[in-house]
């Protein structure tokens, strides 16, 4: 089980003797004195096992077990226990993607399965082996659009989650690429504004479904218009919703990107999460990351291989479209195990239950008279309402009862003032929803 063995003193002495030196420090004697840290590390003294256990027990008491009604990109979906049992096996948990990848057939196989699942959900031809998160995968999709079209400007819908917008802006800035917003209209991307802003400088157009307000936007006519301008159409979606919504392919996307946390990963602060990126076969050479494929070895046995990894990422870095030279392998395993267990029907059920719960909460909140719907548009598991109750009042009252979310959109800027997001997943019970409404009803 344990493959890590520290060196014994005998090992170290033998190596020192071979090297004909007296101490390990001599290996570092080329480092100038002036830059060597010569002070005490000021690290607290060690603890006994009993002390350490009680120390961590105290720390863990600071954690709150909250009931989540929050969304906006990270969701509290059910995580079957099998996921942890499999992903915590050390062959998966602690192994780095090997530099001779074909030696790890198991790793390549689950990445291959992951890619197949993403292809199925997005409807696209090819998925890469995964990316760091939904926001960076969408930023990389923008790079791709610029590389494919040899143009340098991206149009971003104003209904895209501002957190994702910020990541895209950061990425573009250092590649000397520019961007502009497409205005929003009644909570959706303004198609007329998109038509207006398309010209021969536009490499790609980014939209989000469901968008920042939880609205399921209708992309009728988008793909034709964007293709006619020789730009690429990028759709960001929370992958779980693709179990029931039109796939990015059906919506005419050239690149599908987004977050996979909703497929078996916990809503942990700071992640880790996982991004997916899928595209048309025609663009595969401009796609960041790598692809696992399967073939047969000399004896005709099935073998998994690293089929493609645009070589420029390693040997022409200054000219690379992307400098991702890795993938989010362990998190891809979460997705693979989750989807294997849930299956097609399970994923549909997850969405149906979330839909029912969120629409029940929506109706109940409107009934209180304290919340209004500014948009009246279709939604799935999350929605946005307007209220005059202060965000702090809501948050404080809910936290006192062990609930986190609705989340105020105020942090995103003045435009979002008074708007609050509510998300209901299949994990929320009617009792929990009723309790949430009860607390909110009493506020003013």
């Amino acid at each position: 089980m344990f493959k890590y063995f520290p060196h014994t003193k005998a090992d170290v002495d033998s190596m020192l003797k071979t090297l004909n030196i007296k101490s390990i420090d001599e290996l570092y004697k080329d480092i100038p004195e002036t830059v060597v840290f010569n002070k005490d590390y000021d690290i607290p003294s060690f603890m006994s096992e009993t002390e350490l256990r009680s120390h961590f027990a105290d720390l863990s008491k600071k954690n709150q077990e909250l009931t989540l009604f929050s969304g906006l990109g990270i969701y509290d979906h059910y995580q079957p226990a099998v996921i942890n049992a499999i992903t915590s096996r050390q062959e998966f948990m602690t192994s780095y993607t090997p530099y001779q990848p074909e030696i790890s057939q198991g790793t390549l196989q689950y990445i291959f399965e992951y890619q197949s699942m993403i292809q199925t959900l997005t409807g696209m031809d090819v998925s890469n082996a995964s990316m760091y998160d939904g926001a960076t995968s969408t930023a990389e999709a923008c790079f791709m659009a610029c590389a494919v079209t040899k143009r340098n400007k991206i149009l971003i819908s104003e209904t895209l989650n501002p957190n994702i917008v910020n990541v895209i802006k950061t990425y573009l800035k250092f590649k000397d690429l520019t961007w502009d917003f497409i205005a929003e209209k009644n909570g959706e991307t303004d198609f007329a504004d998109l038509e207006n802003k398309l010209d021969d400088s536009i490499a790609g157009v980014v939209v989000q479904k469901t968008n920042i307000y939880g609205i399921i936007e209708d992309y009728q006519g988008y793909s034709e218009t964007i293709k006619a301008n020789k730009s690429l159409f990028i759709i960001n979606s929370d992958i779980s919703t693709l179990g029931v919504l039109k796939s990015p392919k059906e919506d005419g996307a050239d690149i599908a990107s987004g977050e996979c946390q909703s497929l078996g990963m916990p809503p942990a602060f700071g992640g880790p999460t996982l991004g997916y990126l899928a595209t048309d076969k025609a663009y595969v050479r401009k796609m960041p990351g790598r692809i696992c494929g399967y073939t047969h070895d000399l004896e005709g046995r099935r073998a998994f291989v690293l089929t493609l990894q645009a070589r420029e990422q390693h040997i022409r870095r200054s000219k690379a479209n992307s400098n991702i030279c890795s993938n989010q392998s362990l998190m891809a395993l979460f997705v693979t195990v989750y989807l294997s267990l849930m299956g097609k029907n399970g994923l549909v059920k997850v969405n149906e239950l979330s839909y029912q719960g969120s629409h029940y909460l929506y109706d109940r909140l409107l009934e209180t008279g304290k919340f209004k719907d500014r948009f009246n548009k279709p939604f799935l598991k999350e929605f946005t309402l307007e209220t005059s109750i202060a965000p702090e009042t809501i948050q404080t009252a809910l936290l006192q009862k062990g609930i986190f979310g609705g989340v105020s959109l105020d942090v995103f800027g003045e435009k979002y003032s008074g708007l609050i997001n509510f998300t209901v997943t299949e994990k929320r019970t009617k009792k929990e929803i009723d309790q949430l409404v009860e607390i909110l009803e009493a506020l003013s």
């Binding site: 050479r285 070589r311 420029e312 040997i315 022409r316 000219k319």
Partner: protein, 126 residues
């Protein structure tokens, strides 16, 4: 020993230019270039209608051991791209003088004078 074809123009970045008719040329990579690269696995080319300009990069050739930029030996507008190379990049290894990359309409035919003859190129790669 690298193969050379008499009558072609050669660049120091290992491209060749063959004059088809007045102002119309084919551009490819030399035998020396393909043998240095090794097995070519991908050729990234621009599109017909695009322009190239002398000494500027117009594409890339990737092999199993390296990736190398393609540098335009002359300036002009691309009339045609050899699409066969997309599916069969190994053609560049098989016959680099037959399997051209681009057909180009020259915008400045004088640039040909700046290129090397077969003899001069042979000397250059020695």
């Amino acid at each position: 020993m690298s193969k050379l074809v008499e009558g072609l123009y050669y660049s120091k970045s290992h491209e060749w230019v063959k004059v088809l008719q007045e102002n119309q040329v084919l551009i490819g990579i030399t035998d020396f270039a393909q043998s240095e690269l090794g097995d070519v696995v991908f050729v990234d080319l621009p599109e017909a209608g695009d322009s190239i300009s002398q000494e500027a990069e117009f594409g890339a050739v990737e092999s199993v051991k390296a990736a190398s930029d393609l540098i335009a030996p002359v300036s002009g507008e691309i009339l045609e791209v050899n699409d066969e190379l997309v599916g069969e990049p190994e053609l560049l290894n098989q016959d680099p003088y037959k399997n051209w990359l681009l057909k180009v309409e020259l915008s400045n035919p004088d640039e040909l004078d700046e290129l090397l003859s077969a003899e001069a190129y042979e000397e250059f790669i020695k």
